[in-house]
């Protein structure tokens, strides 16, 4: 057992302990990796609902008369296109086009909220403050991470469960949209976002109300909802083909090789990393992130070598036995010229090569319900 003495705790720590969660160190926090079973939690999110504590994630407010101009300069996307109540997936890149973090930028009221990975929170904050000091923008950057809790009901039943606790018009709240309002009498920012490949919500509230919000959601969910940990979050996002910083993304990867070129708006004017990213786009990325399904009975894992015609050509960034598909799946970087759906590779598992075939990403796509 590792020493958890110096780790931070989220406002929901006591709920996790009471629920019998297995707690592990993650990004400086003591976080639930599972409650009873990763597979059970994974299936709950695919078929009903799971409840995640994501309070470890970073929340950074960007405000001021030139907040939009500042974010257009800092992010690779075009936050100027965001209407109030709208969100976009984006990234911070360095001057070389390497990814500092991937994040979601929300336009809320007259300001912006950046939600970043917990492990990158300090780096993101320092980077934004450095850009702000250098660029002479009329904008402010405020770290709200400690006082903000983030609770995420995810899964096909999450909308019906949430609807019992709020008057907000959830049926009008589209994907990557956010609304402010009361949930169980608690002031929340309710966002229709997630990291599971299912319909779901992310609820931001004051840290001191997190326990009550959690309890109300568990109560309202009844048998349709169970708490879900980081283990299920990882298998869910991997099936949905969503990248994880530290695995698929990092300072040595650029958005184009990670299939995220659509996020980069090269024509919006000057921004950090623009020149380097324009060169990558022009030349095409040298390597590509691909999806692999194993044809042999072996589980690919992070760091395992990928072979093509017997030579090592790449590496697995994430891999698992997919609970929803019953297949062994992986994402991997390979040279761009070798990438193509149907192409054959091998993954080295315990010194032996096992056959794999490239498939289209994502591995899993939910059946969208008909709109009424």
């Amino acid at each position: 057992m590792s020493d958890t003495g110096s780790l931070l705790r989220t406002p929901l720590h006591d709920r996790h302990v009471a629920a019998g969660a297995r707690l592990v160190p993650f990004a400086g926090y003591e976080m639930p990796v599972q409650y009873r079973s990763i597979l059970e939690e994974h299936r709950a999110v695919r078929t009903a609902a799971g409840l995640f504590d994501l309070s470890h994630m970073g929340e950074i407010g960007v405000d001021g008369g030139e907040a939009v101009a500042f974010l257009r300069y800092a992010l690779v996307s075009e936050p100027g296109a965001l209407e109030p109540g709208q969100a976009q997936y984006s990234m911070l890149c360095d001057e070389d086009g390497g990814i500092i973090d991937d994040l979601i930028c929300y336009h809320v009221d007259d300001a912006f909220l950046i939600v970043c990975n917990a492990a990158n929170h300090d780096a993101v904050l320092a980077h934004l403050e450095r850009l702000l000091a250098k660029g002479d923008f009329d904008a402010t950057v405020e770290d709200r991470s400690d006082r903000t809790a983030l609770v995420a009901p995810q899964g096909p039943a999450s909308a019906a469960i949430l609807a019992t606790l709020t008057e907000l018009p959830l049926e009008e709240l589209g994907y990557y949209r956010a609304l402010r309002g009361d949930v169980a009498g608690i002031d929340c920012l309710v966002a229709r976002t997630g990291y599971t490949g299912e319909d779901g919500f992310e609820l931001f509230c004051a840290a001191r109300h997190a326990g009550r919000l959690w309890d109300e959601l568990v109560e309202a969910g009844g048998e349709r909802l169970i708490p879900a940990g980081l283990g299920a979050r990882d298998t869910l996002r991997l099936e949905a083909g969503m990248p994880l910083y530290g695995n698929e993304l990092g300072p040595d990867t650029n958005p184009f090789e990670a299939n995220l070129g659509r996020v980069v708006k090269l024509d919006k004017g000057e921004f950090v990393g623009r020149a380097a990213l324009a060169r990558v786009q022009q030349a095409g990325p040298r390597r590509k992130l691909i999806g692999l399904v194993m044809r042999d009975n072996a589980i690919p894992r992070h760091g395992y070598p990928v072979l093509h015609d017997g030579a090592t050509v790449g590496v697995v960034t994430s891999g698992t036995a997919s609970p929803s598909l019953g297949e062994r799946i992986a994402m991997a970087y390979v040279p761009a010229e070798l990438a193509g759906v149907g192409n054959r590779f091998a993954v080295v598992v315990r010194d032996r090569p096992y056959e794999a075939e490239q498939v289209k990403l994502p591995f899993y796509k939910r059946q969208r319900q008909e709109q009424h």
């Binding site: 990763i38 597979l39 283990g231 990882d234 298998t235 589980i299 698992t320 036995a321």
Partner: protein
């Protein structure tokens, strides 16, 4: 958690049940719980030789890969082929349907290096 009294246990969380010259081996319920949902096992081959406390296979949970260490030396006479299709038996019935292999016992004196149920219980509680 209670562990069957007729088995011997290793510090690496494997068990052995001796029946005449045959030993059946598996992982303990404690190990299975610690691993979480087991989704894969690499079984030893029939005819291969196991050495006490040496690696003989691998189990994988959703999140992690773990080596298996044999609690006893001997030649593998049978493996539990059902585990290839249903590795979850290791979680649900570690001391029964989740048995891993049967070996012809090489040296019964090796059993002295293993724990009884009470000692194992003390180790894991």
């Amino acid at each position: 958690m209670s562990h069957p009294g007729d088995l011997r246990y290793s510090k690496e969380h494997e068990w052995v049940r001796v029946d005449g010259g045959t030993a059946t081996i598996g992982i303990t319920s404690f190990a299975a719980d610690e691993l979480g949902d087991i989704v894969f096992i690499e079984l030893p081959e029939v005819g291969s030789s196991l050495t006490q406390f040496a690696g003989f296979g691998v189990v994988e949970s959703v999140k992690a890969v773990s080596d298996l260490f044999s609690p006893i030396s001997g030649e593998v006479t049978e493996v539990n082929a059902a585990l290839a299709e249903q590795p979850e038996l290791l979680n649900s019935d570690a001391y029964g349907e989740g048995w891993i292999a049967r070996v012809s016992l090489a040296d019964s004196a090796e059993l002295d290096a293993l724990m009884d149920a009470d000692a194992y219980e003390a180790l894991t509680s």
